[in-house]
Symmetry: C2
Subunit: 379 residues, 2 copies
DNA sequence: GGTTAATAGTAAATCGTTTTACTAGTATGT
DNA sequence: ACATACTAGTAAAACGATTTACTATTAACC
């Protein structure tokens, strides 16, 4: 969310070596006469070095089975550098039938909940020399052409799918027949489809425990209407933690939270209108929590003095809310990274795996929106 | 920022026609034996229809110069449907030397300020049958390999660059020699590079006018340290509007605002510590405004009663802040769309153009963070 | 009946790589 | 002197689409 201050688009230190020796004079067959620089092909390099294209290809990829004199190798490398050669992506992809591109279908790029996943995937992909193409899942769903071009046209080697509900099971299964697929933060029953997930259950328990420690006993839960499986894990986390504390979770404390701030505000109004006197709320996602907090402000209910509100998942702006939103942070960046690794393993021919991110536990970020209940001795 | 409620990943209605007729039985030469479905090539279609591959290609692209019987054409179309054929992306790209992919180099996908641009570009790209590859500008800058693969490898047909400062001018010029380039929300002095920008000057004037109308006379300005040219336009907008109102803009009212919420908070503390008694602040970007608002809360200064704060650029969470942040909304979605159109025009061989988005004026979104000054009769 | 024109396609080159199989030439061993 | 092995590469066939130039066949016209 914050801009990296050191992030120049293309810093000066980059300029030197990148364009050294780039120049004209390569084979001219571009159909677009207005580009001044023509891109060198492997044939240009071969000619300049006085060898065959095969030798160039094998030298540049340091093929061990190629017998070549050190001097010749140097000549080839020099020629490649001089012409600023880099293999044509399409030709290479066609020959080796692999594009070096992986797709990430995401619902809403601007949703802060997903941006960490994207960042993690981006990092892991480029670490392994892959390029990440961000496809809008809605576009994919609505535009058959684009989807076909990507999947059937072999434009991508594999795809990371972020599902929001379970209605896509069939299509995932079908896609997985022609392409490696990993579903992100969802469980997959399909053995051909890999999956990674964070520990939603633990996260819900931890954040509920935080409220219990503050002395709350009447803790409501705002559900999320997406990710059926993930949602039930979070709900169960709240339930189990309540039960463990000797508080039988009251059915009336569970409110339908939707998934947007607007939905969260509605849920809050509902709770205030006819619910029991809850003193705290666990929202199944932070956007819901945000809406709930907003509704409290409109209804003149002090947060956290009269109502503590916490969310599941941290996002960069959460600490700048007034009050700052207490949340449990999920390792979503790591989720994105692991998803890419899983996909690359499948590309290597390994069977699909199902992982849960266990190493990095969810952590509670205490901010202003949670405090002891007003009836509690601490208050 | 909010999730589109209708956004299933791949809705059921999509399933029917997409995979109708997908089946096995095509030519088998996949090197990965664990994928059950092999993708059909144009040769498979030609064989099934009993024609040459040339006929298939020309029929599917509805080549006008092809003389073909309606019956034969039907047979070809049927065969393509049956095999669920879709042209191999790499082969096609190699032959026509155009990938159908455009790159968008963005700094921080998760920055809410940029997400509208991405969404607009995404929409426009897929409208014209292009795929958008989101490249992280930092990765591009740090990883020569990736950049070369994209640019010199012809993996993308053109690139949209979002610059943050002017240090990249040289590299942009160099890139523009081999690829069409459009810089987004920045001015370009290079005639070979296209550019689109919103009306930052008007935006600053409008939001300043809003504060003046409320009765403020001591309006401070928090500068932004990026986008040198854009930044000065915003500053000039504030200055001119102040001057027009007969208020000679006091130099001490201009504070260095940085570009993150943290920077904004620091600027606020500086203003409070030794500045004159400003009653309102125009922040050159909304993240700065957010930080400033946060600092006020920590310093126990009521917003907007004791201090009005407004920002330039709207983002989805702005209305859920407490109080909601008054901003001037920039047509950034349109900016992304126009950038893509400009790039596609350049791909068509048209010269690079420089556009300012004039049709859609910036609009002031009044929320809770701005109000009349306490000393004003209205208050 | 012979020329021209339209119809209905096809054959083959091409895009730029990668990779397999092969070939000269030289060196080694017996 | 002959077979064997090594060195230092090369030639050519893919990969899957597009496109240009061409070819049969039939029809029309004078």
């Amino acid at each position: 969310m914050t801009v990296n201050p050191a992030a120049f688009l293309l810093p000066n230190r980059y300029i030197q070596h990148l364009f050294d020796g780039m120049r004209e004079g390569c084979s001219l067959r571009s159909s677009a006469p207005h580009w001044r620089i023509t891109i060198a092909t492997i044939t240009d390099v071969a000619k300049l070095a006085g060898v065959s294209t095969g030798a160039v290809s094998r030298a540049l990829s340091s093929d061990k089975t190629l017998n070549i004199r050190a001097e010749t190798r140097e000549r080839i490398l020099d020629a490649a550098r001089t012409l600023n050669y880099s293999p044509n992506h399409a030709a290479r992809a066609l020959r080796i039938s692999s594009s070096g591109v992986i797709g990430l279908a995401v619902h809403d790029v601007s949703n802060p909940i997903y941006s960490d996943i994207v960042a993690g995937a981006q990092a892991a992909a480029s670490e392994f020399g892959y390029v990440l193409t961000l496809a809008d899942a809605d576009v994919l769903a609505n535009d058959e052409q684009v989807f076909r071009r990507l999947v059937s046209g072999k434009a991508i080697d594999g795809i990371l799918l972020q599902t929001v509900d379970n209605s896509a099971d069939f299509i995932i299964a079908k896609t997985a027949e022609s392409l490696p697929v990993v579903v992100v933060n969802a469980d997959s029953t399909n053995p051909a489809v890999g999956s990674v997930a964070v520990d939603d259950y633990q996260a819900a328990r931890l954040i509920t425990a935080h409220l219990l420690e503050l002395g709350h006993t009447k803790i409501a839960y705002f559900t999320i209407d997406q990710h059926a499986d993930r949602a039930s894990l979070r709900l169960r986390g709240w339930m189990d933690e309540m039960t463990k504390a000797g508080l039988a979770p009251d059915e009336s404390l569970i409110v339908d939270g939707g998934h947007t701030p607007e939905d969260g505000a509605r849920a809050m109004q509902l709770l205030l209108a006819n619910g029991p006197a809850a003193t705290a709320i666990v929202a199944a996602n932070s956007l819901i929590a945000l809406g709930a907090m907003n509704a409290c402000q409109l209804a003149n209910i002090q947060v956290p003095q009269q109502m503590s509100i916490v969310g599941i998942h941290d996002f960069p702006l959460a600490r700048y809310l007034n009050p700052g939103l207490t949340v449990v942070a999920l390792p979503l960046r790591e989720l994105g990274e692991r998803a890419v690794r899983l996909l690359l393993d499948q590309l290597d021919g390994q069977p699909a795996r199902h992982e849960k991110i266990a190493g990095l536990l969810p952590t509670v970020m205490v901010r202003g929106s949670s405090g002891p209940p007003s009836s509690h001795p601490n208050s």
